[in-house]
C-alpha cells in the first residue's frame, strides 16, 4: 500500500513537473520520415542527402535566374527554363558534385514568328535529339533540333471544344517515344492536350472524373440563375504537371484537390495514365497517395500537401513534390510510402518555393523558383539499400532482396517495409513460422495469413496422429461416458439387487 502511494506521489510530481517546466522536446523530429501501418509518423535515417545547391553564382552566370519554372533531365544533361529571362540553360553534370553551363539558348534559327522565347515554362528533350520548348507567352510549343534550327511548332488546337477567344498558354509539356507531345495548358480543364508527331492536335487525354456532391446537385436544380453563378461550377480538375515514365505511361499531378476528398480517398493528386487516359496507378498501400496524412498548422502552413510535380525513377518508384511544405514524397510501385523528406527554409535541402522536379538515375533534382536554385539530392546508404532491395525483389532475386532488407533493418529498425520484405523472402524460402513473426510485428495480417496457412498445413501433416487422437477423443469420450452411465443405471436398477 505504501509503495503504491509512493508511486502515485512520484507520478503526481512528474505530472506537475511536466506542466510547470516548458521543455522543448523535439528530439524525435527529423528530416526524413514515413508512415507506419497505423499512419503514425516514423522518423527514419535520411534517405537522401544534398549533393549540391546551384544558383547563378555557382553556375558562373552573370545574370541571376528569374523565376525559373521548368526542369528536364536527359542523360547527364539538365535543361532549365529561366522563364523570367526568356532563355533556356543547358547544363551538364560532369561529376557527382558539379553542374556546369554548356550553352545558353535564347534564340533559334528559322520559323515563321519570333525567333526568341517569351516566358518559356517547360522544356523536353527526346532521345532522338529534339528540343521541345513550351513558349508560353508566344502561345506555341516549339520543336527544335540540337543545333537550334526550327523544325515544327504546335499551336492552339483548332477544335470546337476549345474556347477560341481565350489565349493559348502551354505551361508544361512532355513527349513520348513516338514523338507525340502532351501539354498542360492554363485554363484547359479537359485533360492533357495531345499532339501527334506531325504537329496535328488529336484530342484531349485523361480528363479527371467530375465528382460532385448530390446535395449541391439538388440545390442547383432549385437555385435561381444568379445563385447558380455564385456556386462553384462542377468542372474537371486542371493538371499541374506531367511526366512520361520509362514505360511510356504518363504520370500527372494536380493541386486542385479538396480536403474532404483527400480524407475519404476520392481525390487522386497523383495519377498514372495509360494511352486511353485511364488512371492505372496502383494504390495498395495502407494510406492514400496524397503526401502528408496530417495537415497541422505549424510553421504558418496549412491545408493538405499540394503535389506540384512528379517524376518516376526507372525502378517504378515515383516521387511527388509538395509545394506547400516543400517536401518530397517517395512511393514504390505499390503506392506504399518509402520516405518523405524536405521542408521550407533557407538551409540546403529546404526550399522556398519548389517548382519542378526531375531525376537523374536515382538522384533527384529540385528547382526552386523563388530561391532561384537547383538542389541535387543523392541517395544515402540507407536510401540506396531500400532501392536495391526493391529492385532485387522485382527482378526475382528474393534471397538477395531479403539480405538487403536485413541491412536496411540494421540501419532503421522502424522501417515497416524491411520487415515485410524479409517476411516475403522467408515465405518464398518456405520458412513459414519465421515469416509469420516478421509480418506480425508490422501488422501485415494478409501476408501473415498466407504464411500461417502454410504453417498450419505443415503442422497438421506432422502431427496427424495427434490430430486423429484428439478428434477421436472428443467424439468418443462423451459417448463412452454415456455408455458407462447407462450400464451403471442398469446395474443399479437390476432385479437381483432390487429384490434385497
Amino acid at each position: 500500500m505504501k509503495k503504491a502511494m509512493k508511486r502515485l506521489g512520484a507520478l503526481a510530481a512528474a505530472a506537475v513537473m511536466a506542466v510547470s517546466t516548458p521543455v522543448a522536446v523535439h528530439a524525435e523530429e527529423g528530416y526524413t520520415y514515413n508512415y507506419d501501418w497505423w499512419g503514425d509518423v516514423q522518423y527514419s535515417p535520411d534517405a537522401y542527402r544534398v549533393a549540391g545547391v546551384f544558383t547563378a553564382k555557382e553556375l558562373g552566370l552573370d545574370v541571376e535566374l528569374s523565376s525559373p519554372e521548368g526542369l528536364f533531365v536527359s542523360g547527364n544533361m539538365v535543361y532549365l527554363c529561366d522563364t523570367g529571362n526568356n532563355r533556356i540553360l543547358e547544363l551538364e553534370r560532369k561529376d557527382q558534385d558539379s553542374l556546369e553551363v554548356v550553352r545558353i539558348i535564347d534564340s533559334f534559327r528559322g520559323g515563321t514568328g519570333s525567333s526568341t522565347f517569351s516566358g518559356p515554362t517547360d522544356v523536353a528533350v527526346t532521345e532522338d535529339g529534339y528540343l521541345f520548348v513550351a513558349d508560353r507567352n508566344n502561345g506555341r510549343i516549339l520543336k527544335l533540333d540540337m543545333d537550334l534550327n526550327y523544325v515544327l511548332e504546335f499551336t492552339k488546337p483548332v477544335d470546337a471544344t476549345m474556347d477560341q477567344t481565350q489565349s493559348f498558354l502551354p505551361r508544361k509539356i512532355s513527349t513520348d517515344s513516338a514523338g507525340r507531345v502532351y501539354c498542360v495548358a492554363t485554363n484547359v480543364n479537359k485533360g492533357l492536350i495531345k499532339y501527334e508527331a506531325d504537329g496535328r492536335f488529336s484530342g484531349f487525354v485523361g480528363a479527371s472524373k467530375v465528382i460532385y456532391n448530390w446535395t449541391d446537385y439538388i440545390w442547383k436544380k432549385f437555385a435561381t440563375k444568379e445563385q447558380r453563378e455564385q456556386l462553384e461550377s462542377f468542372v474537371p480538375t486542371e493538371y499541374d504537371n506531367l511526366y512520361t515514365d520509362s514505360e511510356g505511361f504518363l504520370y500527372v499531378c494536380t493541386t486542385n484537390v479538396a480536403e474532404a476528398a483527400l480524407d475519404d480517398g476520392t481525390a487522386e493528386p497523383i495519377r498514372r495514365l495509360n494511352m486511353m487516359g485511364n488512371d492505372i496507378l496502383v494504390r495498395n498501400g495502407e494510406w492514400y497517395v496524397i503526401g502528408d496524412l496530417y495537415w497541422g498548422e505549424g510553421g504558418g502552413y496549412e491545408g493538405p500537401s499540394l503535389i506540384t510535380d512528379v517524376t518516376a525513377l526507372d525502378n517504378d518508384v515515383y516521387v511527388g513534390l509538395d509545394k506547400v511544405r516543400g517536401r518530397l514524397f517517395v512511393y514504390d510501385s505499390q503506392g506504399r510510402i518509402l520516405f518523405a523528406f524536405g521542408g521550407n527554409g533557407n538551409m540546403d535541402g529546404y526550399f522556398k518555393q519548389p517548382a519542378a522536379l526531375d531525376h537523374m538515375g536515382r538522384d533527384l533534382l529540385v528547382l526552386d523558383s523563388l530561391d532561384r536554385s537547383i538542389t541535387i539530392f543523392t541517395p544515402t546508404r540507407f536510401g540506396a539499400m531500400v532501392y536495391q532491395a526493391i529492385e532485387q525483389f522485382q527482378e526475382g532475386d528474393y534471397e538477395e532482396s531479403g539480405e538487403t532488407w536485413r541491412e536496411v533493418l540494421a540501419l532503421n529498425g522502424n522501417y515497416d517495409l524491411a520487415y515485410i520484405g524479409i517476411g516475403r523472402t522467408l515465405l518464398r524460402q518456405k520458412e513459414y513460422h519465421e515469416a509469420m513473426e516478421y509480418f506480425r510485428l508490422k501488422w501485415d495480417y494478409e501476408n501473415y495469413s498466407k504464411a500461417f496457412k502454410q504453417y498450419r498445413k505443415e503442422w497438421v501433416e506432422e502431427h496427424i496422429l495427434l490430430v486423429i487422437l484428439v478428434v477421436f477423443g472428443v467424439l468418443c469420450v462423451p459417448l463412452g461416458i454415456g455408455k458407462l452411465k447407462a450400464i451403471k443405471r442398469e446395474i443399479d436398477t437390476a432385479d437381483i439387487f432390487m429384490k434385497q
Partner: protein
Amino acid sequence: MTPLKRKESFEHYIATLKYSLYCMTHPLDGFWDLTHEKRGSLAAANTILVLTLLARIMNLQFTGIVCQQVYWEGINIFLYLASVLFPFLLWCVGNWALTTLFDGKGTLKQVYMASCYAIAPYPLFQFPLIILSNVITVEEREFYLVLGSLSLAWCAVLMIAAMMEIHEYKVSKTILCTIGTIFAMLIMIFILLLFFSMISQGIAYFVSLYREIMFRM
C-alpha cells in the same frame, strides 16, 4: 460459520452459477425463476461480470492478428474496462430508476443480477473464439465475426427477456422501457459531465484564490 455451512454455501454458489446456462437456453422460464424462486445469487452474478471483464482483457491480449489489430499506444486498461463497466452499471441504475416509476417489480439488486446473467453468453463465446482466432486465416475470418456478433445478439435478447421477467412487463412495454433506459443513460452522462465540469471550475476558483492571496502576502 461451521465447515458444513461453508460447504453448503459453496455448493449453492456453483449451482447458481450453473443456473446461468439454463437462463441462456430458457430465458423466459429461467429469468422468472432467477428471482422468484431464488435460483440465482449475487456472487454468481458478480462472477459473470468479472469473467466478462476478463474476457475483454484476454480478447485484447490474445486475439490473433488476423482478426484484431490493437493499437497498444492508445490503450489504457482502466479506461478500457470502464468502457464496459460504466455503461453496464449505468444501464442497471437507469433501468431501475425508470421502472420504479412505471410499475416495475424488480429491485436494483434484481436488475443487476438479471443483467449479469443476461451477459453470460459473451464470456462463454469469447474464450473459445480467442483460441479460434489464432488458428484461422483471412479467408476464414467470417466465422469468427459471425460467431462474435451472434454472442452479442444473444446477450441482447437475454437482456430484454430478463427485464421482462424481472419487472413482470409485457413485450411492448419492455421495448419501450429499453428505449427509455437508453435515454436515461444519456441524461445521466450529461448530468455527470455537468457535475464534473462544475466541480473542476469550483476547484479552479479556490486554487486561483489561494494563488492570489499567496502572491499578495
